[in-house]
Amino acid sequence: MDGIHDLGGMAGFGAISYEENEPVFHEPWQATAFALNIVGIGVLRNHNADEYRHSIERMPPVHYLQACYYERVLTGAATLFVEKGVVTKEELEERAGGAFPLASPNAPDPMAELEPQPVARFTKGDRVLVKDIHPAGHTRVPRFCRGKTGTVLHVAPAFSFPDAAAHGGAFRKEHTYHVEFASTDLWADAGADNESVIVDLWDSYLEGVDA
């Protein structure tokens, strides 16, 4: 989805606040929230990592931007426990003694039509074009590189295709590629000479470009 989570290149954000010697967790509930999600994925098999990422993406934009990371984790995990029928929102709110905002529902038709690519089609040095897809559901192609051409630096192993895995689609694995884009190609007027962004992209997001 073209959501608020897809932040790369978005303007208007200010200084990064940096804390020296930051602890792993600032408050105990953050550790618990993190652990609840890991147990939900790894032990209870309530949801997978792609469903989890998408549950956070589905948070309303203001809540997404205001919540700290572990509140996003909590909201995503709780949403998936509710959506899978393990708990109800009402039960959570009664226990919490107040509102428990969850993420918004999944889109009805979440996947772009992308042909599965079980065999790596590209190799190091290839020029590739990122398809200009706009699926309503989970995808891992940042908007900033859609429709852009880059160069394959590295072929990674085949991994589960997230757009499908996040939405109960048929399991498929595809190679991912580390594709380098000149920043000036991504953001004309960025004044970003001598900078590049490398995006890790699944095979079916890409098409070949004639040299």
Binding site: V43, A96, G97, F144, A156, D193
Partner: protein, 196 residues
Amino acid sequence: MSTPTNIASPKARTEALQSALADKGLIPEGALDAVIHTATEDWDPENGARVVARAWTDPDFKKRLLADATSACAELGYEGIQGEYIVALEDEPERHNVIVCTQCSCTAWPVLGLPPDWYKSPEYRARVAREPRKVLKEMGLDLARDIAIRVWETSAETRYMVIPCRPEGTDGWSEEQLAALVTREALIGIALANPA
């Protein structure tokens, strides 16, 4: 634009989810504590620092690390979730590497630890891809225009770690001494290895 005004605190919400799952018997004994123990004790940027120090002192290890960082890190005992496919990015004097996850906050937990808040902030995620030189400068690392910057977006399953340049004046240092020069910030790429 209307927001409920009676939102329970994140702490209360966390306890609500935890107790709801626990009362249904869904949380195995000790499962949460085990995760928290791993996150706070096992995943640690000192692990990545040791990998870097080893690479600085052992050319064969460095070769293995650059060819297959997953296995090389596993040699030192660093492996597991979010470390299934690690790629090491070697800094060079004329090319600097920096890591981000613009869409969520993916990181190589076993070698970098859980990432700090700044890494997970909308500010870092939005800005470092587009204006890395400016962001790095604001964070204390002023790179000359002629040093290329590669920003690595953690958009798939590869988890990156940066191998910073070894500081001058560290000939003959032990691995332990060298590892102490490598911070979490250096492993992500917003800082260099500390000077000797």
